[in-house]
């Protein structure tokens, strides 16, 4: 049974076609890495799954994307409700200019959950899951902006986890971080896949090899190859994939 299925996805910004006939299926509790040179459409595809592209003017999508068997572009889907089920972590850590607690509680509060004890419990659980609790538990009222970049990114992960999504999208989550913070995020991804289905866009080949079960290689808006990560990195079918992962272009 697949968690996420994309069938014949074509996307356009105005008249420019970005993705061409993408089809892939993702099993639950796996990490799938999207790799490829800049502008290949991997981020665009990632943003299709929580419909963030809806915010872009003139964006159009053809094809079918289902999560848990449900067509997420169906007119019956409530977009805000859908986005609660599909969390997202962005390239730059983007905590709100609020306290640590308020950041993590944000998703709950906008959903009308205001019970104090429940909020406190959820905030703690989410921060623990994001491996940040021990570093911040003494002062949750501290402004999130005063945390280090790596801590901010884990805070953003905690924030996404608080609303209990089943899928987490990560758009180059470690590209703005130092190596130690990156290692922490990678460990975290490994832990999180026990509960969540994770899709991660990355420019870092070693990272893709380390954290993911499956890897999809994109080039010029097309899905060139999609297979087990071990296969992609040791014995890719396509010459283009081979060239990219060995650093001959991109």
């Amino acid at each position: 049974m697949y968690k996420i299925e994309a069938k014949n996805i074509h996307t356009f910004y105005g008249k420019t076609q970005v993705l061409k006939d993408i089809s892939l299926a993702i099993r639950p509790n796996t990490v799938t890495a999207f790799i490829g040179p800049s502008g290949c459409g991997k981020s665009t595809l990632l943003r299709c799954f929580n419909r963030m592209n809806d915010l872009t003017e003139n964006f159009r999508l053809d094809g079918l994307i289902t999560i848990d068997g449900r067509d997420i572009y169906s007119p019956k889907i409530d977009v805000t409700l859908h986005r609660k089920k599909v969390g997202m972590v962005f390239q730059e850590p983007n905590p709100f200019p609020k306290s640590i607690f308020e950041n993590v509680a944000y998703g709950l509060k906008v959903n009308g959950l205001r019970h104090k004890k429940f909020l406190a419990e959820t905030v703690e659980r989410s921060l623990r899951q994001a491996a940040l609790w021990d570093e911040v538990k003494d002062d949750l009222s501290k402004p999130a902006m005063e945390l280090s970049g790596g801590q901010q990114q884990r805070l953003c992960i905690a924030r996404a986890l608080a609303v209990e999504p089943s899928v987490i999208l990560m758009d180059e989550p470690a590209s703005a971080l130092d190596p130690i913070s990156t290692a922490k995020i990678e460990e975290l991804i490994y832990e999180l896949k026990k509960k969540y289905t994770i899709l991660i866009v990355t420019h870092n080949m070693q990272q893709a090899a380390r954290v993911s079960d499956k890897t999809a290689f994109f080039y010029m808006g097309e899905l060139i190859e999609y297979d087990d990560t071990s296969r992609i990195f040791t014995n890719p079918k396509s010459q283009q994939t081979q060239n990219y992962i060995t650093g001959r272009f991109g």
Partner: protein, 285 residues
């Protein structure tokens, strides 16, 4: 080597030129302030502020003008602030996608540059005559509200635009609605900028004379206004009137009243600068 030296010389020359220009502006301002204070500070007293107007310069005070000014400003804020902020939010967050909004945008920017006397004439026609408000505080406040609306709209939009896109995306990706995103994330981050715009707008309104004269602010009001439909005068109109009197005593009064008016403006601008500094530090960390 030679070229390098020419470049450096030009650089130095430009720096001194810029310094001289800045100095000139400051010098003129200093002279102006000195002149006003030299003439008016002797006349400043508690009596001057609490006395009603009089035809004898040494008995005349600015109480009615102050009361009128405060009433007009409070009403102006009530009318202009919510409408201006809401318009700014609409244009920046909702309305960027259609032609109508673009046309609106250009026109609002133009409106901010329309001479204030034109607003006075508009106010006279619409509020004083058509709405039959007469030369009342309400008519004056509505006119000033129109005058500062474009300023508020433009500054609100700029403040909102300065909020990083990533904040919005972060909030929307959590399943917040657009309004929740605006209310919880965008507005708090833009608050400093918006407040700054509001204060600058109101400090502009305080100094306006022309539109209020057209709308019918009286030069002599012997009583404190009690309701929004009462007649009124404001400080700049009072100053204008005193300056046009032949007696020397009134010129001194005018100078003293200018000091009071300047104090209001400086305090408001000071608050604006303080808030801007405080909020930018908070958001930009």
């Amino acid at each position: 080597m030679n070229k390098q030296r020419t470049h450096q010389r030009k650089d130095t020359a430009f720096r001194y030129l810029a310094l001289a220009c800045t100095g000139l502006g400051l010098l003129v301002l200093a002279l102006l302030l000195y002149d006003i204070f030299a003439r008016g500070s002797g006349r400043l007293s508690w009596d001057f502020i609490t006395h009603l107007p009089s035809r004898f310069p040494e008995k005349a005070g600015i109480l009615t003008a102050l009361a009128g000014m405060v009433s007009v400003m409070v009403l102006t804020m009530i009318f202009a602030f919510p409408v201006g902020i809401a318009t700014g939010i609409y244009l920046e967050e909702y309305g960027t996608r259609n032609r109508f909004a673009r046309i609106l945008e250009i026109n609002i920017a133009n409106l901010a540059g329309v001479p204030s006397i034109i607003y006075g004439i508009l106010g006279l026609e619409i509020f004083v005559r058509f709405c039959r408000l007469g030369n009342s505080i309400l008519a004056g406040a509505l006119t000033l509200a129109l005058l500062i609306l474009p300023v508020i709209v433009v500054s609100t939009r700029e403040a909102i635009r300065a909020v990083p896109r990533s904040f919005r995306e972060g909030s929307l990706a959590m399943g917040a609605t657009q309004w929740q995103t605006i209310w919880n994330v965008v507005l708090p981050s833009a608050f400093g900028g918006i407040i700054t715009g509001l204060i600058l707008a109101i400090s502009r309104a305080i100094g306006e004379t022309a539109p209020l004269i057209v709308v019918g602010a009286l030069v002599y009001v012997p009583f404190i206004p009690e309701g929004p439909l009462d007649q009124f005068t404001v400080l700049p109109v009072q100053i204008f009137n005193w300056i046009s009197r032949p007696q020397a005593g009134f010129a001194t009064n005018a100078a003293a009243a200018i000091i009071v008016l300047l104090t209001f403006t400086f305090v408001l601008n000071g608050i604006a600068v303080y808030l801007r500094h405080k909020w930018y530090k908070k958001v930009k960390h």
